[in-house]
């Protein structure tokens, strides 16, 4: 009967394993075991260059995580504000939020990264990681905004009516009644975006930020071991993504407790 479907379309993210889908679960296990064993066996069997690559990369992993977590936190805040803005009755706020989403969704992330780093760099001096985080949060905030909007809209208006009739005002309704319920619908796409953002942080290597990919490229350019280096880099990203997607899937599973029959 509900016209608004609870399924939210998002951009590319990883396939979050659904515990009820056996096909995906076994693919996940095979991928995980394969990745971990390769990451262990290759450096043991051929320490030069595989072990050398692994020793070169750890600080890059730290930087990638820092950028990802900072970007996602900022993007969540921007997304919430944008989503609420697009649902606002105030025409001006609504217009601003919609304009932001339109513009950001129309420019590729890499172009935004370059723009914020170089073009704005001449006006406002920001360190490279800060520029990268701002650019990623700016871009992903728009997509998060759409996710928040759809999630909030999916909550039955009856909830809002009941809250208002009980004496909550608009803001209290949103904060105490609607958002907590919407969160359950929002979490899977947000988790998806989190993983997509982690993969997209590899783009910041173009801004000379020393993340995993940049460390790999630096090593490859000195040693000329391109195949081995990029193999390890790909495996590392895959391992991180696999673990994260599993964590998000189990979080979803716990949150859907009330919906399970």
């Amino acid at each position: 009967m509900a016209e608004e479907k609870k399924i939210i379309e998002v951009g590319d993210g990883s396939v979050i394993p659904d515990p009820d889908d056996p096909g995906l679960i076994s693919a996940w296990w095979i991928a995980l075991i394969g990745t971990v064993s390769l990451l262990i066996i290759l450096p043991l069997v051929k320490p030069d260059p595989y072990a050398k690559i692994l020793s070169f990369v750890p600080d890059g992993i730290l930087v990638t995580f820092k950028v990802t977590i900072a970007s996602i936190s900022l993007a969540l805040v921007i997304g919430l504000l944008t989503g609420l803005g697009r649902l606002s009755k105030n025409r001006f706020i609504n217009l601003m939020a919609s304009l932001y989403v339109e513009v950001v969704r129309g420019i590729p992330l890499l172009v935004q990264l370059f723009y914020i780093y170089f073009a704005l760099g001449r006006i406002v001096r920001v360190p490279d990681i800060v520029a990268a985080v701002i650019a990623m949060a700016f871009c992903y905030g728009a997509y998060m905004g759409e996710v928040f909007r759809a999630g909030i809209k999916s909550i039955d208006f009856g909830q809002t009516e009941a809250a208002l009739s009980l004496g909550f005002n608009g803001r209290q309704t949103m904060a105490y009644v609607v958002l907590p319920q919407a969160w359950r619908t929002i979490l899977p796409p947000v988790g998806n975006e989190f993983i997509a953002l982690l993969k997209d942080t590899s783009l910041v290597s173009i801004l000379a930020v020393s993340d995993i990919l940049r460390r790999g490229r630096e090593y490859a350019s000195e040693s000329f071991n391109y195949f081995e280096t990029y193999t390890m880099i790909a495996l590392i990203y895959l391992l991180i993504t696999l673990i994260l997607s599993r964590l998000i899937s189990s979080m979803e599973h716990r949150l859907s407790h009330y919906e399970r029959r």
């Binding site: 760099g121 001449r122 001096r125 360190p127 490279d128 000379a208 490229r217 630096e218 350019s221």
Partner: protein, 244 residues
Amino acid sequence: MLRKCALTLAVLATLCGSAWAETIIVFATDATWPPMEFVNSDKQIVGFSVDFLKAAGKEAGFKPVFKNTAWDGIFAGLAAGKYDAISSSVSITEERKKAMDFSEPYFTVRQALIVPKDSTAKSLADLKGKKVGGQIGTTGYFAIKEADGVIPKSYDEIGLAMEDLNVGRIDAVVCDDPVAANYALDKYKDKLKIAAVLKTDKVENYGFAVKKGNKKVLDLLNKGIEAVKAKGIDKELKKKWIGQ
């Protein structure tokens, strides 16, 4: 009878023509390294190396064709056979000699340190704890990594490093001296200066790189280089592009 003669002559001419046809050697070049190789306003690849190879080609009998390639993958492409040689101000080093063959040196170069005009740094030792940028995979960047206490930052193109230095995100840039001169004395002459040339006891030379074992192209190149050096054409080109 006349037609037969004409036909025979035509066939002979074509055969002679193909015997006259020059060998074409495809060079990969990262044309973001003025004044050695860069792209001018007409979108042509020009520079010292381009003119040098055209002159060498005339002497040794080959025609150089240039392919603009990103520096980061330029050696991988050579190993994969995507082009015949690299002409991209590649310094001859022992590590690189293990992966590819080099021609005779065609240019001697030193690493220069570029800093903002108000900086007092005179060498990498003065920049302990500061960020110094260089292009990824270049001898300049290796020099930064070897210096104690300096924080290295690698860039895909030297122009990006210069821009960051200009804006103040990094404290110095190390690169080959002709390029340093081009940026510090020309493009950014109000903001940047060359602080010093890095002291080193090794002589650093540019060579053209070919895939290991590619003797045919290497011999042609060396022949051309020797002829150009003998005729003094390289000195003229130096004056034209580098002004000394």
